[in-house]
């Protein structure tokens, strides 16, 4: 059972996330969208979306930082004050994201206009993230101090997966709350390519460097772009 949940499941999830995303991106680019519902409802979205996104994005980035430089985290946590600071920040962000998510869920369920564009997939996504935030907070508060022992448990576990020498025994003895938190991450990967979650990898940083205007010409001139083409003819003449 442990193998199934903590070895097979993550690999299946990651494979799906990568393969399906690529297929969707290439074959159905039209379907890739953040599917904003701001036009239909603005006020609640403001409180929900802004808090949720800032909270969840910073937390996810922090998870990533732990994974990449666990030694740095251990060093930071060497002094108790800094440990408390880190944990308090994490909890505050999670609460912020959680409140935002609550508003988003409430909005999706009560606002008629928003309900008209709400699919089952939207509810599944919000549900998975809700479970992730709740179990994450529970872990942080109930099993102190996560950022301290986490580097010795999760980091080796995730790294073992990444180098294809899985060591599920690392997470075997953890309480079910923490296990659930780990599993929501994999569930997240499973739904990622099938839902609006793909919008996370479309964040348009290219905007920062591109020229303001974009002018395109269809012609036989070399290196010129046909907007309907999927082939790498693309070049922007401005």
């Amino acid at each position: 059972m442990n193998n199934l949940l903590f070895v097979v499941f993550p690999y299946v999830a990651a494979t799906l996330a990568i393969v399906v995303t690529i297929i969707r991106w290439r074959r159905h680019p039209f379907s890739v969208s953040a599917l904003s519902s701001q036009l239909l409802e603005k006020r609640k979205l403001y409180w929900g979306s802004v808090s949720f996104h800032w909270g969840i994005t910073v937390i996810l980035v922090m998870h990533l930082v732990v994974l990449i430089i666990p030694d740095g985290i251990d060093y930071w946590n060497g002094a108790p004050v800094r440990l408390y600071l880190l944990e308090a920040t994490g909890i505050a962000l999670a609460v912020w994201a959680g409140v935002g998510l609550g508003i988003l869920l409430y909005r999706r369920m009560t606002n008629l206009r928003v309900r008209a564009v709400t699919t089952r997939a939207d509810m599944v996504v919000l549900g998975i993230i809700a479970v992730a935030i709740i179990t994450g907070l529970w872990t942080a508060i109930g099993y102190r101090w996560g950022s301290f022992w986490g580097t010795a448990v999760f980091v080796p576990y995730v790294r073992s997966l990444l180098i294809f020498q899985p060591r599920p025994e690392l997470v075997e003895a953890l309480p079910w709350v923490i296990k659930t938190h780990v599993l929501t991450a994999f569930a997240f990967l499973v739904v990622f390519p099938f839902t609006r979650l793909v919008h996370i990898i479309t964040v348009p940083f290219g905007y920062l460097t591109r020229p303001w205007q974009k002018v395109i010409r269809m012609s036989r001139e070399p290196g010129v772009y046909h907007p309907a083409s999927k082939k790498p003819l693309e070049r922007i003449k401005s």
Partner: protein, 503 residues
């Protein structure tokens, strides 16, 4: 000089009868779909009025267009690039559906299916989004013909700066005045929608200047909706993609005028090619306000000028396009006769649709039951020409719409139009042109020959004179991708997938 071509439309506002045929033609062709019900790529507004979406000209509120900062640099009013990334989760300047209206229909089935009862059944209105009964409080052209209304006309953002006394007068029932303003996307030379799109999904085609959204690249960041000062990009709430007027490019490519222009009952619309100098765009857009209009018009090049023709040919513009540019009715009105102006040049997008401002009746007064003109009978035309401030629609209002507040520009156009009218009236009523009429033409800066030409293109043009459409040479661009034989008869959209909402 970098020459590019622009397909441009001209609206002769003096001829618009406000019938909305254009809007309906466009709706039937393009936006009669789920998620697009509220989109009016072509709309006709009653002005003075608040327009569609409500108060779209209020850029303090909607943050559309460009502004020039203290150092003379051009900036999007909406955002800097980093701010755009930070505001992806929520765009505070985006209009909400209620700034447009909630699309609705009626439960017509109830008229047939209701059980027998004491009263006639009614068709209840339902929302086309939620399908729940709604109370309709606004709709497309809710303010149609409501000239002088204290809800709409009084809140027109372009009435700013107009004398309080004149504003009061405009809401008196005997002095009410309004005109129609048909609007489509202006296919700007410096489009704010393109500049605001974080995904780079919006682009301008250089061969004809049409501004398009690549729906495959749009990710619903919806910055374009807020950034367009004319509010001519709409967000499809169903597909999660932005959409806008495409200037009927599939029709243009097959030699037909856009549906709005083709169906125009008042025949107010003209289509033609303009050549312009793309090197000047950035400079023009950042001009000080008082030079903006002239600079924008200066960008348009003379298709008879040898240098221009050579540069155009070097830029790959085919000779039949240059020929079309020479016969372009838009060029004729805008550049040769100087009668047409872009809408709100102060937005700095270098809008490429042009308007001939409307004449309006002179102010009259009521004595007893009689409506009386305040003008001596024998010389009305001349009086009006000398004193355009007697026109019911304040010149300043038109100036706020079309010339960054410069009334002289508007006066010049209106004088020319009046001169044409007077000349032709004298000709057909009196049967002769006298000295004073000729003096009038001179005062208006025109000649009998020009007047005849203006009259002809304004009043009795053939459809080929109104729409001078260049051949698109689609076969050449198709060749870049596909075998032209295989694609014969199948030009237009190219390969697309059906627009289904992603999950």
């Amino acid at each position: 000089m970098r020459v590019r071509a622009q397909m441009s439309m001209l609206f002769h506002l003096d001829k618009c009868i406000g019938c909305h045929t254009c809007s309906v033609a466009c709706k039937n062709l393009w936006t009669d779909r789920k998620g697009a019900e509220y989109m009016w790529w072509n709309n006709v507004e009653t002005r003075p009025g608040t327009g569609y979406p409500t108060g779209w000209e209020d850029q303090d509120h909607y943050k559309g267009g460009w502004k020039r900062d203290e150092k003379g640099r051009l900036k999007l009013r909406l955002q800097s690039k980093p701010a755009a990334i930070a505001k992806l989760f929520f765009n505070p300047s985006l209009p909400e559906l209620d700034d447009y209206y909630e699309p609705f229909t009626f439960k017509y089935g109830d008229l047939f299916d209701s059980p027998q009862g004491e009263h006639q059944p009614t068709a209840e209105p339902v929302s086309k989004i939620t399908w729940q009964p709604i109370e309709i409080t606004s709709g497309p052209n809710w303010d149609d013909d409501l000239g002088g209304s204290d809800v709409y006309a009084a809140n027109d953002p372009s009435m700013n700066g107009i004398d309080e006394a004149i504003r009061d007068q405009m809401s008196e029932i005997e002095r009410v005045v309004f005109n129609y303003l048909p609007r489509i996307c202006n296919h700007c030379l410096n489009p704010a929608c393109v500049a605001a799109c974080p995904s780079g999904a919006i682009y301008k085609r250089s061969e004809d200047g049409v501004v398009l959204v690549n729906e495959d690249k749009c990710r619903a960041w919806r910055m374009c909706v807020a950034a367009c000062p004319y509010k001519k990009v709409y967000y499809n709430w169903s597909t999660g993609k932005s959409e806008k007027c495409i200037l009927c490019f599939p029709r243009l490519e097959t030699g037909q005028a856009p549906a709005c222009a083709h169906s125009c009952v008042g025949r107010i619309r003209y289509m033609g090619v303009l050549l312009y100098d793309a090197d000047k765009i950035a400079d023009v857009a950042s001009m000080p306000e008082d030079q903006l209009l002239d600079a924008q018009l200066d960008m348009i090049l003379d298709p008879w000028d040898g240098q221009v023709v050579a540069a155009a040919a070097a830029a790959g513009i085919e000779s039949d396009w240059i020929d079309a540019a020479r016969r372009s009715p838009v060029y004729q009105f805008v550049k040769v006769w100087g009668m047409a102006l872009p809408l709100h040049p102060e937005y700095r997008t270098a809008a490429m649709m042009f308007y001939i401002p409307p004449l309006s009746p002179v102010i009259s007064s009521i004595e007893g039951n009689l409506t009386r003109l305040d003008l001596p009978d024998e010389r009305e035309d001349f009086e009006l020409l000398e004193d355009l401030d007697k026109a019911r629609l304040p010149v300043q209002y038109l100036a706020n719409l079309f010339s960054v507040g410069d009334e002289e520009v508007i006066r010049k156009v209106l004088k020319k139009m009046l001169a044409v009218r007077t000349y032709k009236r004298r000709q057909s009523v009196d049967g002769e042109i006298n000295e004073s009429t000729l003096a009038l033409l001179e005062a208006a800066g025109t000649t009998p020959e020009e007047v005849e030409a203006i009259y002809k293109l304004t009043t009795i043009p053939t459809i080929e004179e109104r729409f001078v459409l260049p051949p698109y040479h689609r076969e050449m661009s198709i060749e870049t991708l596909n075998d032209p034989l295989a694609y014969k008869g199948a030009t237009g959209f190219g390969p697309i997938e059906s627009p289904r909402r992603g999950a």
